[in-house]
Symmetry: C2
Subunit: 325 residues, 2 copies
């Protein structure tokens, strides 16, 4: 099933069930007021939400038209947002671009960082840019929403922790990163609020495109109306989501509603294009001695979407414009 | 006023108002079921909670006995937990101990890291230690709970964002830190779940001990019944909480309920002792060529408390025992 959150003026919005086509919706208030509440009591809520989804799909439920407006992030605030960097090609290219080496444990020890999660952006939220010198970049990602995860869970057992999948735009200020990395505590100011797709979908909705903890579809990335990349999210993801869950849970537990990103999708095949500008700039730097693609400026727009085998949008699109602050 | 959260079997517990002495309590369910809900609507809830506190103090409210058992962290899960490192003496000593230099921007650019916040430990929660080789250490800190913070707030305006103060025990696995720092993304596995004091108090409760964004009282740290440190939290805190808020909000907003730590309290005066073992080990290393104090082992116990000028415990004590996993 597909779930979404409509802006009703409250901090967490209103949970709705959406049909496969993303055109009709039913409020889920009879089951759970918010997505977090549904995740808090998933065993009880999920079957009842599925029933609503079934009614909506079969025409038994009335449903309202799903408009483009009003969508918040499925979780407008979350208890954790942890972002991995599982596509090694991305990591190698981006580090090379800032003159840094990939870590020695690149292939054995996953890289993750803890992101901010008290303010998450909706799919159509404009992105105010206070300072173009900060080097704004988008990063298109696949993310999962977890159920309760005990400390020490194995990658195999982690399979059952994935409740939902969403797309993410992990906005980054590239020019703030080197100084933060040099301080040794990782990203902070360099990672402003992340945006998410309108719909979060259960794994079963994805058929066998979701297998082995990887989502095997292309992630379509468009800048100012021009396609800049369509890398396959199932290709080059060295650590699966299950591996990442086992990694983050090595020393602590996580409660339901934690969001975990797989990192900027990146294929070794250059013709797949890019899911962020830093990679393109890195390739330019290596080929021509200098980056030619500028970072984002006020007025630029980003679109991120994933289609299923029938060409249907799975998560709805993230469509954000960079705006004046 | 003092607030606390009692374990009622729910994920967020039950909000209660506590008297000054920490001996009597009144459920706040008529105002807000949980502390997060009170923070979500602080303008409305705070005066009503104050009225309960007044009734309790004056004897007009019945109140129940506040027992030692049943306290969760005031926020058993939070939307963000950001920890600064504002006591430069700590930073310099701990980095020296692992052969690293403090960053060049030490005195001008605050160091903060984003911690995990979906599972926060109560003040008396045992701390299971899966592997003594990870080098378990406590870190005694003062933390603040914020209201909504807009992006770009100034340090001056940030003064009004501080809703509550609490003590924290920022558990750390010291031996996992060097490898994580080397990877460049900051701490993750090296920072297991953090514990908090039973009571969160409003700034006015602290009188002029809370001034300039610093809390001027000694933080009493006890290991296995022996005092290991009593550094003054108002001394050596180079960046105030207001500075830290302005820093974290440089590129994004935060929503109410975000917890911000000031970092391990540390005084340049060695006779004040330590609020973590890493500092003591660093001093031993510098004096004798080797650290003598071992990291924590199963059976060790930690007590962290702060008294006011009258010797009254302000936040209640954090008392945790390291347990078998």
């Amino acid at each position: 099933m597909k779930l979404g959150t409509l802006d009703d003026g409250s901090r967490d919005g209103q949970l709705v069930v959406v049909n496969r086509a993303g055109t009709r919706l039913l409020p889920a208030s009879g089951v759970a007021a918010t997505l977090q509440r549904a995740l808090d009591d998933w065993q009880d809520c999920a079957p009842r939400l599925r029933e609503l989804a079934h009614n909506l799909e079969s025409g038994a439920g009335d449903g309202a038209e799903a408009l483009r407006d009003g969508w918040l992030a499925p979780l407008p605030r979350a208890y954790e947002w942890v972002d991995g960097s599982a596509y090694l090609n991305h990591l190698i290219l981006v580090r090379r671009a800032r003159g840094a080496e990939p870590p020695a444990t690149l292939e054995t020890d996953p890289l993750v960082y803890q992101g901010g999660s008290s303010v998450l952006l909706g799919p159509y939220a404009p992105f105010p840019l206070p300072d173009a010198e900060w080097g704004l970049d988008f990063e298109a990602e696949v993310s999962v929403v977890l159920g309760d995860v005990p400390r020490g869970i194995s990658a195999q057992a982690a399979e059952h922790s994935v409740r939902l999948l969403m797309l993410a735009n992990d906005w980054s200020y590239r020019n703030l990163i080197p100084a933060e990395i040099a301080k040794g505590f990782g990203f902070f100011n360099s990672k402003p609020s992340t945006a998410f797709s309108p719909f979060a979908v259960t794994p079963d909705e994805l058929g066998d495109a979701w297998r082995g903890g990887r989502l095997h579809h292309r992630l379509l990335c468009t800048l100012n109306g021009q396609r800049v990349g369509a890398p396959d999210a199932g290709v080059g993801m060295h650590f699966s989501f299950h591996d990442l869950i086992a990694h983050i849970a090595k020393t602590r537990a996580f409660s339901a509603g934690t969001i975990l990103g797989g990192g900027t999708v990146s294929n070794p095949d250059e013709s797949a294009g890019v899911a962020c500008l830093a990679e393109r700039r890195a390739r330019e730097l290596l080929a021509h001695g200098a980056a030619r693609t500028p970072f984002l400026r006020v007025g630029d727009s980003i679109r991120i979407e994933m289609l299923d085998a029938e060409g249907q949008s799975i998560f709805g699109a993230i469509e954000q414009e960079v705006s004046a602050p």
